[in-house]
Amino acid sequence: MQDSPLVEIEDLRVTFKERSGSFDAVRGVSFSMGREKLGIVGESGSGKSLTGKALLGLVPGNAVVTAKKLAFDGHDILAATPREMRKLRGRRIGLVMQDPKYCLNPVKTVGYQIAESCKLASRVSSADAKVRVLETLRAVQINDPERVARAYPHELSGGMAQRVMMAMMVIGEPDLLIADEPTSALDVTVQLEVLALLDRLIAARGMGLIFISHDLRLVSQFCDRIVVMYAGRIVETLPAKDLSQATHAYTRGLLNCLPSLDRAAGTRLPTLQREAGWRT
């Protein structure tokens, strides 16, 4: 463990320029993290995904990213050339998205695609890459890696495709994994298996994880620390185990409005009364 944090973000802003004016989707987000599991939670429009994308240099073309500091392991991301960013993305930072089917090339076999990202990350021969692919597929709990490596993305179930996606991301042994709603498209039972797998991979390889999700409860169970975002700003940062003692009204409101089996049946759910003050 070194002293300098893995990710340092200070006053991050993402602004969309449109003809009708500009719109700040992320407004002054600051946090830093080490090799830990950090959850970013918020509802749609909170800017949680954009924060992750800004870190990868993957914001949409009409968006402008500014920050006092946006650094990954000491590298200034805002000053990095596209070439350096590609290198960083291939080798040091991995991304797992919500729907793996959109991220996999439909006309190439899964094995080929994982081998490609392996070769991108480190110079290895095709034969070595092949061995690494099978190893990694085994590491993501795929029992018959030979068959899966030969399969095309459409032949895989959602849970299987998400494992393949993770294999693709961890094969380069990155230092940081950004997972944007990695399990939201999956059934609950599959979801838990994928999470358990993610947990093991991170522990085994000593990676940092940014887990972006709308599911406050899941994030609190899975992550070490939670960042709660609302309307482009961080409203609260707290250790995951202290979620029940959250102080901000928004966090508490989100927790309360979850339908739960602990509440009496047929009673109205508490709703979130949004306050203007949360935005500033």
Binding site: E43, V188, T189, L192, E193, L218, C257, S260, T271
Partner: protein, 256 residues
């Protein structure tokens, strides 16, 4: 089947080509009840709902509404009594019609009188301002669209609402508002709900009884009290219930 039931299925089978999406599904819902269908993707829960509405091909078995077996295409009378709210609020509204036009259309089809008054009344009832009548769907948020979809279903003054994952595409804070609206409406208009969901929290909040489904088959019928007490007899229902409690690495040993 139970004579007092409002809506019942008797050994319903739905097939798409060689795929049997629903196999031998039977249940009966009493008037005023909220009945839940729970399952993962591919369990056939939504297909069963669509089959009742006449949107999926019934291979065999019966659907009965108030003791009468429904045969062939559904008629105008059926549509007055049974309405549906779809999962995806972005897909269930016509993209190029104003909300007013979309709410007028069912009233025109069913030849209701006082159409403008009814439309204004229903849009207010679901908690939207009247000015929203003159908007297009893409100008509304997901929760607002779902309110419009509920308003459209209410216009027919139905007895039964088929709810196909009505809140799964929404943020949790919006979900709470929509579930509250549905609970209020049920009480106010003595509606009978058939609610499909993958979320035990939603089912437990809304439903009196539920049926767990898997691969098109009924696995286990439970009461709300059974659900809350965790009294599931089948292994699959127990596993689903456990999974719905979220991520607990220690409890996962037997699953993973």
């Amino acid at each position: 089947m139970n004579k007092g039931s409002l809506l019942s299925l008797d050994r319903l089978v739905v097939t798409y080509g060689a795929v049997r999406a629903v196999r031998d599904l039977s249940f009966a819902i009493s008037p005023g009840e909220c009945f839940g269908l729970v399952g993962e993707s591919g369990s056939g829960k939504s297909t069963a709902l669509r089959a009742i509405a006449g949107l999926a091909p019934i291979a065999s078995g019966n659907v009965m509404l108030a003791g009468q077996t429904l045969m062939g295409p559904r008629d105008l009378h059926f549509h007055r009594r049974v309405q549906m709210v779809f999962q995806d609020p972005y897909g269930s509204l016509h993209p190029r019609q104003t909300i007013e036009r979309q709410l007028m259309e069912p009233l025109r089809i069913q030849r209701f009188p006082d159409r403008p008054d009814r439309v204004r009344g229903v849009i207010r009832r679901v908690g939207l301002p009247e000015s929203f009548l003159y908007r297009y769907p893409h100008q509304l948020s997901g929760g607002q669209r779902q309110r419009v979809a509920i308003a459209r279903a209410l216009l027919m003054e139905p007895d039964v609402l088929l709810l196909d994952e009505p809140t799964s595409a929404l943020d949790v804070s919006v979900q709470a508002e929509i579930l509250n609206l549905l609970m209020d409406l049920r009480e106010e208009r003595v509606l009978t709900y058939l609610l499909v969901s993958h979320d035990f929290g939603v089912i437990g909040t809304m439903c009196d009884r539920l049926l767990v489904m898997r691969h098109g088959l009924a696995v286990e019928e439970m009461s709300n009290a059974d659900l809350r007490a965790g009294r599931a007899t089948s292994a699959y229902a127990r596993q689903l219930l456990e999974a719905s409690r979220g991520y607990h690495p220690e409890a996962l040993a037997d699953v993973g």
